[in-house]
Amino acid sequence: MTTTTPAPVLSMTGVSKRFGAVQALKDIEFHVGAGEVVALVGDNGAGKSTLVKAIAGVYTPDEGDVTFDGSHVEITTPAQAQALGIATVFQDLALCDNLDVVGNLFLGNEVLRGRALDEVTMEQESWRLLRELSAKIPSVRIPVASLSGGQRQTVAIARSLLGAPKVVMLDEPTAALGVAQTAEVLNLVERLREKGLGVILISHNMSDVMAVADRVAVLRLGRNNGDFRVADTNSQEIIAAITGATTNAVTARAARRAPQEEQS
């Protein structure tokens, strides 16, 4: 664990979003640094998806400042987010089962040689990308349908890296994965951090969050409800923040006092 906080690649301050009478996000502060894994957690309806979509350019926030890579930006479309260097891997992965790994990795982004597809370069590049992630995929010439859940996640993540992004958002990457495959994906997240990318990890799984994240940002009912460094916290504290147990004055006081007493 690094002790210095990296300079933020993406930072959002005072972000609000309303849908009619519903205040989905209120005055949100959020930032992620280069080489930092930030877990974004919260109960259903806490505003995680809205925040993710605001970052990915699907929604435009009503208020608030977004700074990317040191300059003020307004993200209004998904294409713009991608052009800036924000890659999103959605939960349903969006892979074409009938195409092979190479076809999926380069879909919509094919390398051409003259007017024909340059399969050789694309295959070579696929291997480079997968090796970089230490991905366990035996062959890139088999249809994606025959890959395991973890391998499919790997392909989706590898694909998000093709545009050389600075921030990668992963939406529930370990949902519905087995033990070994979850570990594989967590390794992948660490690999992204080593490459100096900012990683935003949306997850409900507390053990995954504790295992891989540097920092945990908690949302509750559309507001920030705590920002914890994983090194200085525990699952109970985060769960308390998610469920709102800390909003109770007594628990909040106890939580404040506990570390002081430990030190004294």
């Binding site: 969006a94 009938n98 195409l99 076809g103 982004n109 051409l112 090796r131 062959s139 088999i142 249809p143």
Partner: protein
């Protein structure tokens, strides 16, 4: 792809000696010719049949008809067979394209009839030049496809319904275009009729092609091998490529020999085969083809990958109707006439059945342009063989239907087997 220029990091282990795509320790090493042969056999056993069932089916059909009536394999009959199959075969190419998208066009038969009607009316009744008539007929096809595509993209109506409506509309237009007479004959000496029934490749050219085509194939594959090796990837064993090219050459020379004993290889047949090859390359080797396959596999994924989905739908509907129009032109030219029932009866279903029998999935994303060629060969072999045995149309319909059913069952079984063997 900013990082693409950096060379692959040197692998510190001894694995660097292996090509990049064979380094995973779980891969069963299959190098050299023996490895290639056993890998191919394993693929077939696991249900990845490719076009094998059609080829086997074709051999069986030919053997049965030969046993029943040796005239079936006579050169005269084979030349007839190749000529008969071309117009509907051209329709089948278009059907393959829409099926790859997971859509369907039920109006190809009516389009076939309409385009023939436009051709003969402009050429014979109006006295325009043959080129104008041909281009007008093709343009009619393109416009119909454009309308289908726009309706599909704008309103999201299933292509099944749009083209079913189109079937009736086009049939009406066909009858209206032909007018009172109902039948218009093309003059026998017109270049179009000559092209469709009298023009054959000279002997020397046919044999040269039969040898040159496999050679070109071999050279192209060897060049790919060279590029793969220099890119640090595995290359197909040269012996395997040579065997394939040799088999192709033998097949082509035998076919050429059989055909050349009679009239030979028709220009029209060459045109059909060239179209199949071109469409195959377009589907497998271009961005457009990759988009078509991707949309057939998962539209949403294709859309998120930035593919202009609507444009691809539009292009495929236009191509399919244009191929149907071309089929109509060739059909009218071959029979030297067009009438109100051209493109009626079983034209539609033969073309769709040909694509499916050839191995193109009805559910999108799987198939190749070659299935149009193989499928139409099967259908016309059956109808030609049964006609030689003087079997009436009723039996012919039943047999063709049974073969279609068999093809779909084989497809379903091999799909299940592929899934079980992790090759889905």
């Amino acid at each position: 792809m900013t990082a693409s220029q950096t060379p692959a990091p040197a692998d510190p282990t001894a694995a660097a000696a292996l090509p990049a795509d064979l380094q995973d320790e779980r891969l069963i090493a299959s190098q050299g010719f023996g490895g290639w042969a056993s890998a191919t056999w394993g693929r077939i056993r696991s249900g990845d049949l490719g076009s094998l069932p059609v080829v086997v089916g074709l051999v069986i059909i030919w053997a049965v008809f030969y046993a029943l009536n040796p005239a079936f394999i006579s050169s005269r009959n084979l030349v007839n067979l190749t000529l008969q199959m071309v117009p509907i075969g051209v329709l089948a190419i278009g059907v393959v394209l829409v099926l790859l998208l997971g859509e369907i066009d039920l109006s190809i038969g009516s389009m076939y009839g309409l385009s023939g009607a436009v051709l003969v009316v402009l050429f014979v009744n109006q006295g325009m030049s043959v080129w104008v008539a041909v281009i007008a007929a093709l343009a009619a096809g393109a416009v119909v496809g454009l309308v289908y595509g726009l309706l599909f993209n704008r309103f999201g109506v299933p292509s099944f319904v749009i083209t079913l409506a189109g079937l009736l509309v086009l049939l009406g237009l066909q009858i209206r275009t032909l007018g009172k007479d109902g039948t218009v004959n093309l003059p026998f000496e017109s270049s179009l009729v000559q092209f469709a029934s009298q023009k054959f490749l000279p002997h020397w050219l046919a044999y040269t092609l039969a040898v040159v085509v496999p050679l070109v194939y071999l050279l192209a594959r060897l060049r790919t091998n060279q590029r793969r090796t220099s890119a640090g990837l595995s290359a197909a064993p040269v012996v395997a490529l040579a065997v394939r090219a040799a088999l192709l050459a033998v097949a082509l020379v035998v076919i050429t020999y059989l055909l050349q004993r009679d009239r030979g290889l028709s220009y029209m047949v060459v045109l059909f085969v060239v179209l199949v090859v071109v469409m195959d390359l377009a589907v497998r080797r271009t961005t457009w083809g990759r988009s078509v396959l991707a949309i057939g596999g998962n539209v949403e994924a294709a859309r998120r990958a930035g593919i202009k989905v609507k444009r691809v739908y539009l292009s495929v509907f236009v191509l399919c109707s244009t191929f149907a129009a071309l089929g109509g032109i060739l059909g009218a030219a071959r029979l030297a006439s067009a009438n109100q029932s051209s493109g009626g009866a079983d034209t539609n279903l033969n073309a769709i059945a040909a694509a499916v029998i050839g191995g193109t999935s009805l559910f999108g994303g799987r198939g190749s342009a070659y299935s149009a060629l193989l499928g139409i060969l099967v259908i016309y072999s059956i109808s030609n063989g049964l006609a030689l045995l003087s079997v009436s149309a009723d039996v012919r319909y039943v047999v063709t239907g049974a073969v279609l059913l068999l093809a779909v069952v084989i497809d379903s079984l091999s799909r299940r087997s592929r899934a079980a063997h992790g090759r889905a």
